[in-house]
């Protein structure tokens, strides 16, 4: 039997506050695009919803806004909300 594959989510700033964690491993499934990923994350952490709407996504430490992108096994996906304070 094949081992289950996973990917890692990284949460920064207010995303970290909303999820109460700075990272988590999630079981990978095929054709998980950004819309499906967003839905999955909101289901896991309802408090993330308003934050995802304003956040930047980075995959393996690289900014992405490619609409055809899907999560690959072992990807590291970061949610980076803007920080306004100073």
């Amino acid at each position: 039997m094949a081992e289950t594959q996973s990917f890692t989510m990284l949460y920064f700033a207010s995303a970290k506050d909303a999820t109460q964690t700075d990272s988590e491993k999630i079981e990978w499934s095929p054709s998980l695009d950004s819309t499906k990923l967003t839905a999955l994350l909101v289901e896991r952490h309802p408090a993330l919803k308003p934050i995802l709407a304003i956040s930047m996504y980075a995959v393996n430490m690289e900014y992405t806004d490619d609409p055809s992108w899907t999560v690959q096994p072992n990807d590291e996906v970061a949610i980076i909300p803007p920080v306004s304070g100073g």
């Binding site: 308003p50 934050i51 304003i54 970061a78 306004s84 304070g85």
Partner: protein
């Protein structure tokens, strides 16, 4: 009673003499500082230098030089002998003008390091005044300057550390009506502000003026650093096209901030500005540096793309061609002050004086404090029950338990400033927790400290 010995008195005398000397030195230091400050004021007044004049002073291109003076060479020696910087780097810095917007936690170290490093002209914008609660992170100011304009205080500190740097204090709120000419008169802009509206304003003004924007931000234990509009890289709107809804934005006053965190980011902003001025690492790809002070990996670098061709500001066909109303765009004011919330009509609420009366009368009631535990631990009123607002709907049974069958017991809700207490009171009313009255205290514990108990701590 035995009279004190000569030895005791002599020791006491020498102790007092030491204290006397320490006080003298402190007064002398303060006098010197005030003299510098008032001298600057006098100079300004004598020349009729009001804000408009200061502005036009900032607009005039400052005199560039082709060589450094001997005092400058002595001062910057440690930088001059750096391979990859050297005399050309120092001259580039001397011939560069930079504008720091915000003389707070980010701007404080940034201004000090840029001034000390030898930037030719440094503008500092801030509309606020120095407050004691700023000083744990805004280390450019000091206790004696409480109430002084932050722009003036920061300018004074830079002048004290390096009189060669020409500092211009802009004591004003930057907005769409005044930002463009100020930004156009500097080479590099540093975003050290504390609110979303000013961040979008600076971004747009830098695109329109063609200026690189060294942007930093910090809250709690987190910081971000990015250079926008530089060498084909993205602008702030490319990454964050949608402004954050006002209710999702936390300021330092409500969210807290570890003083060193904006310090770290402010220092990095100074470094990036120096690298731009001295044309160091020009071929680097655009990145965002993320600082997580309480994580095991403190720094991460995210690679960014080029600017977005469809960006409404810096794209190929921009739809924004002049500055807009940013307060309206962000639905939040251009400061980091917490506005008062008016969810419940005043007549249905309770003043601190009324609550004092209830307390003095020993009238039975439940006092519910809805601040976060970390705030409750600093100070609280006796016999108050702490359930943070965000946990209240889950823990409503705990409130009911506290009534112990007294179904008519009034409940009073308190928080820090009288904002969170309002939705909390509403929630209790909707849940019908008691048949007695449910009211929240206007102005919260801050007002309690101001009006009722001066011994009660304010934070």
């Amino acid at each position: 009673m035995e009279s004190p010995s000569i030895e005791t008195l002599t020791a006491r005398l020498s102790q007092l003499e030491q204290q006397n000397e320490a006080l003298r030195q402190e007064v002398a230091a303060l006098r010197l500082e005030q003299k510098t400050y008032s001298q600057h004021k006098v100079d300004s007044n004598a020349n009729g230098l009001d804000h408009a004049t200061l502005l036009s002073e900032a607009e005039t291109p400052f005199e560039k030089v082709t060589k450094l003076t001997n005092p400058e060479i002595a001062r910057y020696g440690r930088q001059l002998i750096l391979p990859g910087f050297g005399i050309q780097g120092q001259l580039d810095l001397r011939n560069c003008s930079m504008l720091i917007v915000g003389a707070g936690g980010l701007g404080a170290p940034c201004a000090l390091y840029l001034g000390a490093a030898g930037v030719g002209r440094l503008g500092i914008v801030d509309h606020d005044t120095v407050d004691i609660s700023n000083l744990h992170r805004q280390v450019i100011h000091n206790e004696a300057r409480q109430g002084m304009s932050k722009a003036e205080s920061a300018a004074l500190s830079v002048r004290l550390i390096n009189p060669h740097c020409k500092v211009v204090a802009h004591d004003l709120v930057l907005d769409s009506s005044n930002a463009q000419p100020i930004i156009n008169s500097y080479d590099i802009i540093i975003d050290a502000t504390d609110n979303a509206a000013t961040r979008y304003l600076l971004n747009d003004a830098c695109i329109l003026g063609g200026k690189p924007l060294v942007s930093g931000s910090a809250l709690r234990f987190d910081g971000q650093l990015t250079i926008y509009n530089y060498r084909g890289g993205p602008c702030y709107r490319c990454l964050f096209p949608t402004p954050p809804p006002a209710e999702t934005v936390t300021n330092c006053s409500d969210g807290g901030v570890m003083g060193v965190v904006p310090g770290v980011i402010g220092c990095l902003q100074a470094l990036e500005a120096i690298k731009i001025a001295a044309k160091i690492n020009e071929s680097d790809v655009p990145t965002m540096t993320i600082f997580s002070a309480n994580a095991s990996t403190m720094f991460r670098t995210i690679k960014l793309r080029k600017r977005k061709p469809d960006c409404i500001m810096c794209g190929d066909a921009p739809t924004i061609t002049k500055l807009i109303d940013y307060v309206r765009f962000c639905g939040a004011s251009a400061t980091d002050k917490t506005p008062d919330l008016f969810l419940i009509p005043m007549k249905e609420r309770m003043t601190v004086e009324e609550y004092k009366h209830i307390k003095d009368e020993n009238a039975p009631h439940l006092l519910l404090d809805v601040r976060e535990k970390v705030q409750f631990d600093i100070c609280s009123l006796p016999s108050s029950l702490n359930i943070p607002l965000k946990d209240l709907s889950k823990q409503i049974d705990q409130v009911k338990d506290q009534l112990r069958g007294q179904s008519q017991l009034p409940i009073y809700v308190v928080c820090r400033r009288g904002n969170d207490s309002q939705p909390a009171a509403r929630l209790l009313q909707e849940q019908g927790v008691t048949t007695g009255e449910i009211r929240d205290i206007v102005g919260g514990l801050d007002r309690w400290a101001d009006k009722i108990d001066p011994e009660f701590p304010k934070y």
